[in-house]
């Protein structure tokens, strides 16, 4: 729905300050960025990661004692969905070389590389092939490939600075040095990056970048990458089979603790199916649908941390899950679109962030955690209380998209941001003329399963890649490094898994003993409160209806 009538005066304030702001931007004058030492106090006071009582220590499993968000600990301190005694492990339904769990960017890249390296591949996924956060990534993909201007050295520094210098250096090294080749691979598969007529990639800044190295495909970069690599996977049906609506609910290990497949659950026939594989890649993505601290999320419907749960039960430690990324700019009005991502590319293109007075209060290209904390400070009544109140009682700040038209020429918003232009037009708002109302939204799982730069986990035969893995982004990921992460590490995981499948001895007998032990551990720790995990699907039904359903879980409960 269009903005309420009483917003006209507020929008007029934005319009009054706009000419001067455009002029400053044209002269290269920016609102001052926070100094490195000024970031910490804002983060500590206003970033959701620092709110008391929102984290607790995990009491079971390989990372026992590590404090992460309550919502994730709830899933880790839960029993398996399956009773191991009821599962027939003697007769696998499917045998393959490499099983890839998850069919987003990382999973699909892994499948393509595994197949290219001689493996038979099965992709098992909870929803459809391509239903993933990759599809929703908008702004771009980083790679330091402008020789003479940029280099992996500066990309490395930016990634470390964004991650508060705690990132795993080897993983960062791998990501920044593989980045140009990842873009070249995508270009060769026919992904439409925005280019100059001579083929030079158009690039722009993102939050925390020292050079313009964000490559993009209008404002649907992730969708363009996802649909291209998915299409390519469909050219290799002889080697890559895709099983949709069949999430993995456990991995299976042999008697030596080596991963040798997974147990899938067919969401439509309610069957549990054993897949035997010589190597397994977990590429299940993130966890925004856990709605940490009740935040709205930009994430895909399936982002429920399933891979974290099953990998952790199998013995893989987790890291960097103590920080969660809140994207600074999610839609807060209209209500129907709440939580939907407004790409950072708007700010990269010059759009200011403004309070109720139409004034700037933050440099628009701070790293995401800093930007989000500054917006929360501006809105919180206990902070600066300068937010704009929506008709349903939420608050937000303006993102001044119309100034892009004045900076980059009329028609730029429609051309460069077609996805968002259409979205808002459906609700009667023209974002080339009116600013957008935004607020931070739960966006990215900074950490995850521990891996090395070959995507190996602590469990032999088990690999992880993409958002489900942790380390490369440290405590805060920069824009454009998640699409890069899924392509670089997805490819590496596929290659590593295929090599392992080819060279390692055949695994032994599949077993769910680790699940039995985990269930006992949950019970012994006194944490068995009847929860089961992985979650598989979030439940948004009306509580009245829920009360009449009389079942504990909607899908997949076993006795």
């Amino acid at each position: 729905m269009p903005y309420p009538e009483n917003f006209a005066e507020l929008i007029a304030r934005v319009e009054r300050t706009r000419p001067a702001r455009v002029e400053q931007k044209k002269n290269g004058q920016e609102f001052p960025a926070l100094k490195l030492e000024e970031r910490a106090p804002v983060l500590r006071s206003y970033h959701p990661d620092f709110i008391e009582n929102t984290r607790r220590e995990i009491s079971v499993g390989p990372s026992r004692g590590y404090a992460i968000s309550n919502e994730l600990v709830d899933l880790l301190e839960a029993r398996s969905r399956v009773n191991p005694d009821l599962v027939d492990l003697s007769a696998p339904a499917i045998e393959t070389d490499v099983l890839v769990i998850g069919a987003g960017g990382a999973g699909t890249a892994a499948a393509l590389l595994a197949a290219e390296n001689g493996a038979r591949v099965l992709i098992a996924t909870k929803l459809r092939h391509g239903d993933a956060n990759t599809m929703m990534a908008e702004g771009g993909i980083q790679a330091a490939d402008k020789v003479g201007t940029d280099s992996p050295y500066f990309h490395y520094l930016d990634v470390l600075g964004g991650g508060h210098f705690n990132n795993d250096p080897e993983l960062v090294y791998t990501m920044v040095t593989e980045a140009p080749d990842a873009i070249r691979w995508l270009e060769g598969l026919g992904a439409n990056f925005s280019k100059f007529p001579d083929g030079t990639m158009k690039t722009m800044h993102g939050g925390g970048t020292s050079r313009k190295r964000m490559h993009y495909a209008a404002d649907i970069t992730g969708a363009e990458i996802m649909r291209t690599i998915r299409d390519e996977a469909r050219n290799h049906r002889d080697r890559i089979e895709v099983l949709e609506f069949s999430p993995a609910v456990e991995v299976v290990l042999d008697e030596n603790g080596r991963c040798c497949g997974a147990l899938l659950y067919n969401l439509e026939t309610f069957e549990y199916l054993l897949v035997r594989a010589k190597a397994v890649v977990i590429a299940t993505g993130g966890s925004g649908r856990l709605h940490m601290q009740k935040f709205m999320t930009t994430n895909h419907y399936g982002a429920t941390a399933d891979g974290i749960v099953i990998g952790y039960r199998a013995g893989v430690p987790v890291c960097f899950l103590h920080t969660v990324q809140y994207h600074p700019t999610g839609v807060v009005f209209p209500e129907q679109a709440e939580g939907i991502l407004i790409t950072e590319k708007f700010r990269g293109a010059g759009a200011n962030v403004l309070n109720i007075h139409g004034e700037q209060f933050v440099f628009e290209r701070e790293p995401r955690d800093v930007e989000a904390a500054c917006i929360i400070r501006e809105c919180e009544p206990a902070g600066r209380n300068n937010g704009i109140l929506t008709p349903t009682g939420k608050h937000g700040v303006w993102l001044d998209s119309p100034m892009i038209e004045q900076l980059k020429g009329e028609g730029t918003v429609r051309r460069e941001f077609p996805g968002k232009h259409i979205l808002f037009r459906r609700f009667g708002i023209d974002i080339s003329l009116e600013p957008m109302l935004i607020y931070p939204t739960l966006h990215y799982q900074n950490g995850g399963l521990e891996i090395n730069s070959r995507c190996e986990t602590k469990v032999p035969g088990l690999y992880a890649a993409g958002e489900v893995a942790g380390g490369v982004h440290g405590e805060n990921r920069l824009m454009g490094n998640s699409l890069l992460d899924v392509i670089v590490f997805g490819r590496i995981a596929g290659l590593s898994a295929a090599e392992f499948a080819r060279t390692a001895d055949d695994p032994g007998k599949p077993s769910l003993d680790h699940v039995r032990r985990y269930n006992e551990e949950v019970e012994t720790a006194g944490k068995d409160q009847g929860r089961i995990a992985p979650m598989i699907l979030p439940d948004y039904s009306n509580p009245d209806v829920r009360g009449r359903q009389l079942t504990k879980e909607r899908f997949g409960t076993l006795s």
């Binding site: 929803l127 490939d145 490395y156 040095t177 060769g188 001579d198 030079t200 313009k212 609506f245 939907i340």
Partner: protein, 248 residues
């Protein structure tokens, strides 16, 4: 709309008919959220919830109109009395091809999808597109062999399948379109020469020394390097060069 009138509307329940079954849902919700309100936990027909994945193509009719309307369940508000059906999948043939062996000329669209010539120009595809793409127009361009034209005109396609579901000529427009986009990107546009060069430079170890050095730098010094790094101005053009060229 004022605050109070919106609040009143939040509580207003209206009937919708999902696959013929009646549910009372708040009038302010999207079709997707309304079904969840009614008690559904979507398995199929729900993906990104943001209008880009194509999982929730929806067809509906409203009272007193013969018109068949389309939309995405995650983007379309309910209307009182609407009858709707989500179309989570639609069968579509897809040609298998070796992208490396294709040249990107227009004839390849026709040889892989000869049925494009069956198009009768009825415009049902365009009317069915929830992304407002002029599908019939790009199919006409495909018949002409205009790969670039198809690629550009179809760029917003989310491959939801509604066009194919309405096509009397049994075309699978969205698969023709993605073929054209891939051919255009791969063969129609010049490759980025700087990418090739950087990949070669990295393979030759050009940055190895500086990277390994920075990886071994002590935390305080690393912070200083980070603070001191030169920032490319936002309004810099493609010819901008850093004043310190040591690490590039």
């Amino acid at each position: 709309m004022t605050e109070s009138s919106l609040k009143e509307r939040v509580d207003e329940l209206v009937p919708i008919f999902f696959m013929g079954k009646r549910y009372l849902v708040p009038v302010t919700l999207t079709i997707q959220k309304a079904l969840e309100y009614a008690g559904y936990q979507h398995i199929r027909g729900c993906g990104c919830r943001g209008g880009i994945c194509g999982a929730c193509a929806t067809v509906f009719r409203v009272p007193d109109s013969y018109k068949l309307q389309v939309g995405l369940a995650c983007q379309t508000l309910v209307q009182p009395g609407m009858h709707l059906m989500i179309l989570p999948y639609y069968p579509g043939n897809r040609a298998v091809f070796d992208i490396g062996a294709l040249k990107g000329d227009g004839g390849e669209l026709a040889s892989l999808y000869p049925e494009i010539f069956r198009c009768i120009g009825c415009n049902a595809c365009t009317q069915a597109c929830p992304m407002d793409i002029d599908v019939m127009h790009y199919m006409a361009l495909a018949i002409r062999g205009d790969v670039k034209g198809v690629a550009e005109a179809s760029f917003d396609c989310i491959m939801c399948g509604l066009c194919a579901s309405r096509c009397p000529a049994e075309e699978v427009q969205f698969n023709v379109a993605i073929l054209a986009r891939r051919l255009h990107a791969r063969n129609g546009l010049p490759r980025a020469a700087h990418l090739e060069k950087q990949v070669r430079d990295i393979a030759a170890g050009k940055y190895e020394e500086s990277l390994r050095a920075v990886m071994g730098t002590a935390p305080e010094e690393l912070r200083q390097l980070y603070k001191d790094r030169e920032i490319e101005p936002d309004n810099a053009d493609e010819d901008w060069k850093p004043s310190d060229a040591r690490f590039v």
